[in-house]
Symmetry: C2
DNA sequence: CGTACTTTTGAATCGCATCAAATCTGGTGG
DNA sequence: CCACCAGATTTGATGCGATTCAAAAGTACG
């Protein structure tokens, strides 16, 4: 994890008021790094510029459950006012991540109503995305979940895979074996194509 | 649906600045009423004082999927800045619901930083609740989902059931048959008790 | 009383989890 | 360059649990 960047992601630059840009610090994280763990006190917010981060908690039997698989945008935005984190953030591929102190965000937000509105808009979008994730997990067949994901998140039926299919399986709430079989089956049926770092729907004529 | 109340729920009174209290309008809705439907333009926000409302969308095969089962608090808060609703809101039991115009909320929020912060806090809590819902839906067995729900939402292992078990089954993403069987089994094992309008965990010595 | 809905139980089927094992892959060190 | 290892990928066999379809009994309400 080495810092030094000054370039800020476009989405982030639009969200934050100019005064905050200088307070951002972009670093490179490698696979296996941890942004924070359960119980830590939130000191900074993390914005994923590129790469992939998993938010996960340990289930009742100790098996990790994926709450969020983020490849761009803020992670754990809801912890802005929290005393401690309620999940772990694990970097699963080499990623560029910008951090900014919670205190700086807080003061800027109370002083700048426009920024507060922008932040609320970001939270609203996150809420909708999460509701879609719930909708997705309510589907029982793996194929339905995958196609739902590609329809709602993939632009033009194109779903980037920063890490392998395994992290995707976690997000879909299925075992990696089931996902592999599902992908293979869709591929054989000419409905899906595997490209180097992504999945691509084919024949979107429907 | 008849209006006329002036009394506002405690949680709502704490969230809203005093100036907005007078602009609230509380009504009684009956089972089957609709607060809004997919495609409607959000004109007002709805706060459930008592009763039960289901947020749902139609799945790919036309089967309704429950996005949220609310018995208190705002419904579809994320639609504050939206052009249109992305789900239906259906009242499933006689409910008391307060509505307030979106425009009033917007202007109050930009003028009052404290209120904006309070609203952000509400959104943060909602985000966390949704992440728990995702965590819940990632469990494969019905029993695990039910116990997870009672552990995270039920105060002291007590889970209110405004409507019957059927709406609960929808929230858990399982068929009502599976839920009935699960409840019956837990009851036989002395781990759960059915009380008039709720479920109650027994022997919380663990 | 009749209708609509919830609740309940039963049987058959399907899909996924699980366990197991083989192959492939990238990266490390000799 | 090659041996080697850790992890990802892939395929197979088996069992369990939920869905599905079906039907009956209970319940609220006009």
């Amino acid at each position: 994890m080495k810092t030094g960047f000054t370039q800020i992601h476009k989405d982030l630059a639009e969200l934050l008021p100019g005064a905050l840009h200088a307070l951002c610090q972009t670093s490179t994280y490698k696979k296996g790094d941890s942004l924070f763990a359960v119980g830590d006190k939130p000191q900074a917010m993390f914005f994923i510029e590129s790469g992939e981060v998993l938010l996960q908690r340990l289930g009742p039997q100790g098996d990790p459950i994926v709450l969020q698989r983020a490849s761009r945008g803020f992670v754990a935005e809801a912890s802005l006012q929290s005393v401690r984190y309620h999940c772990d953030a694990r970097v699963v591929v080499r990623s560029h991540i910008t951090r900014i102190a919670v205190a700086d965000l807080q003061s800027a937000m109370t002083a700048d109503p426009v920024f507060a509105q922008a932040w609320i808009g970001m939270l609203n979008r996150e809420l909708k995305r999460l509701r879609l994730q719930c909708e997705r997990l309510a589907l029982n067949r793996v194929e339905d979940r995958l196609l739902h994901l590609m329809a709602t998140e993939g632009a033009g039926g194109h779903l980037p895979l920063g890490a392998g299919l395994k992290s995707l399986a976690g997000q879909l709430g299925v075992t990696h074996e089931a996902l592999y079989r599902c992908v293979a089956q869709l591929e054989k049926a000419q409905r899906l194509q595997r490209v180097p770092q992504a999945l691509q729907l084919v024949g979107g004529s429907t």
